[in-house]
C-alpha cells in the first residue's frame, strides 16, 4: 500500500486499512501523517483564533497562540505513544491481547479526518456559515473517535463492545475518581445531626 492508498483507505475503507496497518506497522509513515495533521491544524487554528481577535496592530498576544500550538504538538506526540502503550497494556490485562506498535500506527492514521475539521471550520467562518463553525469540527472529532475505536478493535483483535469499553475505560476511571473525591468531600461537611 502506498501512502496515498493508506490515506484514502483510512477515510473510506477504514476496516481493511486498519487491519493492514496493524499487521504491517508502517511506523515512520504513521508518524509523518500524524505530525502533518498536527502542524497543519496548528497553522489553521492560528488563523481561526486571529479571526476572533480584534487587537491593536502593535500588540502581539498571538505569540502565545504559537507557543500553545507548539506545546500542543509536542504534547500530542507524547500522548499518542502513551495512549498506544496504555490501551495495549489494558487490553493485555483484561483480554490477554497486546499489540502496542500496531495500535500506535493505527492511532496515528486515525488522526487523518482531524485534518478536515479546522480548515472546514475556517472556511465556514470565511463564508459566514455559523452552523458549519460548530458542526464541521464536531463531525471531524467524532469521525476520529470512531476510527480510534476501530483502531483498538482491529489492532488488538477485539469485538466492538470490548473496544468501546477499553476506549471509555480511562474516562470511567476519571469519573470514578471524581465521584470518590466528591463523596469524601461531602461526607466531611459538618451536617447538623439530630
Amino acid at each position: 500500500m502506498t501512502l496515498t492508498e493508506m490515506v484514502y483507505g483510512i477515510l473510506f475503507q477504514p476496516v481493511s486499512t486498519l487491519q493492514y496497518l496493524s499487521r504491517e506497522k508502517p511506523l515512520s509513515r504513521a508518524m509523518l501523517v500524524f505530525v502533518s495533521v498536527l502542524l497543519f491544524n496548528t497553522l489553521v487554528n492560528q488563523a481561526i483564533s486571529m479571526a476572533n481577535i480584534e487587537e491593536l496592530p502593535f500588540s502581539l498576544p498571538v505569540n502565545l497562540l504559537w507557543l500553545f500550538g507548539l506545546m500542543g504538538i509536542i504534547f500530542s506526540i507524547l500522548l499518542l505513544f502513551l495512549t498506544a502503550g496504555f490501551f495495549s497494556l489494558l487490553s493485555e490485562v483484561f483480554f490477554g491481547r497486546a499489540n502496542a506498535s500496531g495500535l500506535l500506527v493505527c492511532l496515528g492514521f486515525a488522526s487523518v479526518p482531524g485534518i478536515l475539521g479546522p480548515p472546514l471550520q475556517y472556511a465556514a467562518i470565511l463564508i459566514k456559515l455559523p452552523a458549519g463553525v460548530v458542526l464541521f469540527p464536531l463531525i471531524s472529532i467524532v469521525w476520529v473517535m470512531i476510527l480510534q475505536v476501530m483502531a483498538l478493535r482491529e489492532s488488538l483483535e477485539l469485538d466492538t463492545g470490548k473496544a468501546i469499553l477499553l476506549y471509555i475505560f480511562p474516562l470511567l476511571l476519571v469519573i470514578l475518581f471524581l465521584a470518590i473525591i466528591t463523596a469524601s468531600f461531602i461526607s466531611s461537611f459538618p451536617f447538623a445531626e439530630f
Binding site: 497543519f40 497553522l43 492560528q46 488563523a47 480584534e54 496592530p57 497562540l65 480548515p119 475556517y122
Partner: protein
C-alpha cells in the same frame, strides 16, 4: 485513479486553506477597524534597539529592519504619512542614529512623521523621536533619559578564584581597553569618558535640532542628566508636543498629511507568521546580546 483523484482534491483543498491561513496570519499588520483610501504606515520599535539579531532572537528594534521599513514607506506612493510607534528603553547608540537618519530622509521627501510613545520611549528611543515632526506621548509614558552610558565589568577577582588566567597579546597599549580581566587604567578611563562625552554632545545636538524653539538650550542642559520624565512632565518641558494615545498620533499624521477622513493603517514592519512562531518558541529576553563595552543611549 479514483483514489488518487480523491486524495488530490483533498490535498488541493488543504493547500488552499493553508494558503488562506498564512495570509490571514500575515494580515495582522492591518488594522481592520479602519478603512480609507490613503494609507498611514506604522513603523514599530519595540524593546531594546540594536544593530543585529540572531535567528533565534526577535524584536522589532533591529536597525536594519526598521530602516528597510522606513525606506519602503518612503517609496510607496499610497503611504502619505508615517507613525513611529516607540516602546523602547533605548539601546545601541549607532543603531538609534541610523534609524533617526533614515527618518530625516523620509521627512525630506515630504512625508510627515509622527511619534507615538508607548509605555517607554527613553534614551535611544527619544533620540529617534527627535527626528520626527510631532511627538505624542501618553500622560504616563516614561521618556527622557537623555544621556550616554557605557558599562564595563572587571571580573579579575572571579577569574582568579576560578583559576582562569587570561593572556593578551596586543598591537597597541589600548587594544584591550575594557577587558574584563584587568582594571581600567586612568588614561583608558579618560579616553572612554571622552567617548561618552562626545556621544552625549551629539545627543544634545540631536534634541536641540529636533526640539527647536520648544526647549531652550540652557533648560535642556539642566534636565539632560539622564533623568526620566512622565509624558505629562515632558509636555511641560517641551520634550513632547501633545498628550494622547496611538490613534491621536494617527489623527495627527492624517492632519499633517492633509488626509480628509479616515485612512488605512498598515504596520509596515509587522512580524511575519514565522517571526511569531519563533517568538512563541524563544523568549527574546532570554537571548539578549550585550557587549561589555557597548555605548548606549
Amino acid at each position: 485513479m479514483h483514489k488518487k483523484l480523491v486524495v488530490f482534491l483533498l490535498l488541493a483543498f488543504l493547500l488552499l486553506m493553508a494558503g488562506l491561513s498564512i495570509r490571514a496570519v500575515n494580515r495582522l499588520d492591518h488594522d481592520s477597524t479602519r478603512e480609507g483610501t490613503a494609507t498611514i504606515a506604522v513603523v514599530q520599535i519595540n524593546g531594546p534597539i540594536g544593530g543585529v539579531s540572531s535567528w533565534m532572537e526577535n524584536s522589532s528594534s533591529t536597525a536594519g529592519d526598521i530602516m528597510e521599513a522606513i525606506r519602503k514607506a518612503g517609496k510607496r506612493e499610497d503611504i502619505k504619512a508615517v507613525v513611529v510607534r516607540i516602546d523602547s528603553p533605548g539601546g545601541s547608540a549607532g543603531a538609534s542614529q541610523e534609524i533617526a537618519m533614515e527618518l530625516e530622509r523620509l521627512r525630506e521627501k515630504g512625508k510627515p512623521v509622527v511619534t507615538s510613545m508607548g509605555d517607554v520611549c527613553a534614551s535611544g528611543g527619544y533620540w529617534i523621536a527627535c527626528s520626527t515632526d510631532h511627538i505624542v506621548a501618553n500622560g504616563a509614558s516614561m521618556t527622557g533619559s537623555i544621556g550616554v552610558i557605557m558599562q564595563l565589568s572587571n571580573l579579575e577577582g572571579l577569574y582568579g578564584k576560578l583559576g582562569i588566567r587570561n593572556q593578551t597579546i596586543k598591537s597597541g597599549e589600548h587594544k584591550d581597553m575594557g577587558s574584563t580581566s584587568r582594571e581600567l587604567s586612568a588614561e583608558e578611563e579618560k579616553i572612554l569618558q571622552a567617548l561618552v562625552d562626545d556621544s552625549y554632545q551629539q545627543f544634545l545636538e540631536q534634541v536641540q535640532k529636533g526640539r527647536q524653539e520648544k526647549i531652550a538650550a540652557d533648560k535642556l542642559l539642566e534636565i539632560a542628566d539622564g533623568r526620566i520624565f512622565t509624558g505629562k512632565q515632558a509636555l511641560e518641558l517641551g520634550l513632547v508636543d501633545s498628550l494622547g494615545n496611538y490613534y491621536d498620533a494617527v489623527q495627527q499624521a492624517e492632519k499633517m498629511a492633509g488626509i480628509k477622513g479616515e485612512s488605512k493603517l498598515e504596520v509596515i514592519n509587522a512580524f511575519s507568521w514565522w517571526d511569531r512562531f519563533k517568538l512563541g518558541m524563544f523568549n527574546p529576553n532570554l537571548f539578549q546580546q550585550g557587549g561589555f563595552a557597548e555605548l548606549k543611549y
